[in-house]
Symmetry: C2
Subunit: 208 residues, 2 copies
Amino acid sequence: MLAKTEITISDNTIRRLTLYLRSLNELNAIGRTTVSSRELARRLDARPAQIRKDLSCFGGFGKQGIGYPVSFLIFQLERLLKIDKQWDVAVVGLGNLGIAIGNYSGFASRGFRIAWLFDRDPQCVGQEISGLTVLSMKDLESTLLENNIKIGMITVPSRHAQEVANRLVGCGVRALLNYAPLNLSVPDHVFVQDIDPVMQLQRMTYYM
Amino acid sequence: MLAKTEITISDNTIRRLTLYLRSLNELNAIGRTTVSSRELARRLDARPAQIRKDLSCFGGFGKQGIGYPVSFLIFQLERLLKIDKQWDVAVVGLGNLGIAIGNYSGFASRGFRIAWLFDRDPQCVGQEISGLTVLSMKDLESTLLENNIKIGMITVPSRHAQEVANRLVGCGVRALLNYAPLNLSVPDHVFVQDIDPVMQLQRMTYYM
């Protein structure tokens, strides 16, 4: 396992790389085969020099007047971000948000298959969402261990989120996408990304 | 209107302040009246020195052995982030995600009231979600202008997101929370925050 100290590319760079990948996939979808750093910069409201710097590690591509080969760059970025294979993801909490996530097709096309759904409510267990049956929390550990699941999404109310995180981590989950508006406490080898739309709104009202 | 060049606190600092505020509200909810920078740091996996620096602009509080007065700090942070009054928000796109947002009570308690819902689908228009009637996109401009709405959430499919953004900006919206996985193009005076769970997952798989 990689410890945090062994990270070689900064998190800010990784964040930008995921943004480039998303934009390159859009270009690929409309049949574009090359793109210049200038055009990518315009699309992403970024600086061309920053893009060239970030992509320089992928070899001597992006020559002036030719641009980057779109599909090759997608291939390289997917490999670097380790999404050249698909990851299976477990979602815990099938309220409105969990259901929306279970029904959303945009994960699978970008490297992540919503593979397992769990809820504690007996009325919810057994229901089908996009072809998946909601499982009981009693089956969480056995299912995740058997299927070697490394990524979990937490969509339970805040008061249950830490307990759910503990259980996920306890059966080997290494990455948590946390929709509950609280700071989870996890061991150093586990990664957490929070999605809190209110914090993002507050980051804008400050400027208004 | 504030131009981007007039910003005095960095976006990274603002992001941290929203995190402190969330944690302070949790402490307040359980009846805590003071908190030390060390405890706040432990709760947020941050450095105490960083917290003291970020909060130093709120005067000579946070004395050693006493800590910060929780409710006063909440008051100050809410004022700085301009959420000491409640903002009305318009949500455009009542698919699964929009419905989940419309039903979520966690916005109102933290400064944002989901006040208006819009959809282009005639079958959706007229439905009630948490006491709000879904309005037609035909009424978007008139409703937002009349009610002086400055914040919009975009929960439509990607292919419609830019058009929706243009219409929102066209009637005076200054802040967009964008759930569509694409980079919106907006004028300089408009702020955009993207919520893209796939990008956040990709930021973790890199390390795995």
